[in-house]
Symmetry: C2
Subunit: 400 residues, 2 copies
Amino acid sequence: MAKKVKGGLTTPKGFYANSLNCGIKKNKNDLALLFSKAPAKAFAVFTKNKVKATPVIVSQRHVKNSLCRAIIVNSGNANCCNGKNGMRDAVAMVKATANGLDIQRKEVLVASTGIIGKAFPIKLVKRAIPSLIKGFSEKKGPSFAKAIMKTDRFSKEIAVKIKLGACVVTIGGAAKGAGMINPNMATMLSFITTDAKIDKSALKDAFNKAVDKSFNAISVDGTMSTNDSVFILANGQAENKTISKGTAAYNKFYKALEYVMVELAKMVVLNGEGVTKFVHVIVKNAKIDKDAKKIASSVANDLLFKTSLYGEDPNWGRIAAAVGYSGAELMLDKLDIYLGDKKVLSNGVRVNTDRKSLRNIYKKKNIEITVDVKLGKRRADFFTSDISKKYIDINASYSS
Amino acid sequence: MAKKVKGGLTTPKGFYANSLNCGIKKNKNDLALLFSKAPAKAFAVFTKNKVKATPVIVSQRHVKNSLCRAIIVNSGNANCCNGKNGMRDAVAMVKATANGLDIQRKEVLVASTGIIGKAFPIKLVKRAIPSLIKGFSEKKGPSFAKAIMKTDRFSKEIAVKIKLGACVVTIGGAAKGAGMINPNMATMLSFITTDAKIDKSALKDAFNKAVDKSFNAISVDGTMSTNDSVFILANGQAENKTISKGTAAYNKFYKALEYVMVELAKMVVLNGEGVTKFVHVIVKNAKIDKDAKKIASSVANDLLFKTSLYGEDPNWGRIAAAVGYSGAELMLDKLDIYLGDKKVLSNGVRVNTDRKSLRNIYKKKNIEITVDVKLGKRRADFFTSDISKKYIDINASYSS
């Protein structure tokens, strides 16, 4: 079993971090650096949005090398829709980082988050990079995690340790919110570090699977940012026997990685401005994985469902409607729906329930919704929240 | 040219209507009837939701006969997820109407709107049908339109007249809102009547095309109800020369029908509770129709865009992001975006604009957003609104 420990990105061996205020924002750290002393196997998953921010394009190229050592991140400006100037600036940001660290440019990944379509303040960033590098340390994981926060109510970090033979392998991570969750940045960024020694293909496999179970299984507001990115760096410093696919060590590593990423994803949901409820949507017995996910995502994103959560009004018809328009294969006369452990729909027909007990379920902070499709054996889990008036307040005047 | 006249559903010749309170709701009319003295060619478009309310299933069957004479509608109960009892009740509602009017059951269409998963009050409905029929008249179109309202701020009716040769043909319509637009009913219903004599295939063609341009081109909140339905009845009482496809008369009729339906759809958007802005999203020069519609719908439904409208914050990056995740074919380096007549994005690169003038555009009640894809020649128009705190208020406690 993985053991949760205090810490985050720099808890695994050989990782350094730092952050500072370079002047994009007032009084808040807006530039952060993550560095691995050894070349690290790197993978990333990026936004599927066709309007991609420039740093996403640059990182997509660099991560193909698969060995990276640094990630430089700014907040306050997305560097998106800035054309050639944007590309020049993203490259300059990488170059300044590589020069300062004395590593190759292609070993540097870059991420930005903030407003779209604003000239990128490259001068501020370049000027700050030397001090950023000068101050980095193995203790500054929390500083990195704080720099990527904005209106977040708490810093989102986690670390776990597992034993592989005689070696201890550590996985750490940090994340920032997205959309309604953290509307002032609108983008979801996440960084995972590990000192595990692991096969390239095993790492890729584990990472992609865990992204699917975590950051691709949270509902924000149905929008998709131009800058969303999740990164993993594995630098091998734990000196364990190389993990390969299909082994017990791989399974142990995967479970720990999934745990780290799911916990971070849950924190992203829970942390959101205006969020009063945390909801776990479970879809059971769908015919295929895709259908299970479609239904879970449809319910988790349904605006009427989310507002009824906020109002603690157990109007489960909205869940049934969201299941129905999900596009998944469905037979109404097999469909069951549960609020908590109370069945409200059985084979497509309402169950006579005591309204007060349903309302009590919606009054809780943690709510579980189960949709049983009874057409197969596939399951999906999704995490979501309510939508509150505060969400509107915050998002109504972001760029102003 | 079509001439707009005062009136609605019963303005075309040979249509009768009535409504009353049967006791589902307190003090508000909740049961309505539309009747054509002659058998009318009928078509309908229903929700694509796989969780369909029972009246939808019954009407789907009956409309296949293509000749119908009556539509019976209740509000306050969706008759959805009620299983065999629900079917028994929808059929009983049709039967009571057919018996009262002395017509065949298959000539009766039925629609319900309201809460999902509540036992259907068939006794109240059956008891009221005789008085409903007794009181119907050619002057009670407005009464029908009012019965399908709930928190609507105004009744949504329209009528137009066109001249075809020596004959005057009239088209009338009424609608009720959907989702955020009219959250207390959550369902969009619309009824169109005409006294035109028209080929079955010509009517079908014109109706489907007009549905696509109108009720399928408004954004509500991205949800899809279990009861959404749009009906048309054409009873031929104008005695015009039968309209067939490919004729000048058809074109004239189609234009008038599209006008009626687009105006009703716009009213649905404008009328919504909490709506402060009316937005026309225009997508130009997409490669295929489907892409144009995907982009328009993605922008019109984007929650971050809709909240920025409410806050009068011209944060157009959210429009670019919504275009990007629409799934349509796209090249960022060809993409242009306009707020009103101000270009803000040109070939994927931000245009230096005066922020104040952009803000002034968002301060208006009517806003036009144009997305020029420059990959082909297809266009789509979509109508949407902002999302306000009032929306959350209303939807947070609907069923309570």
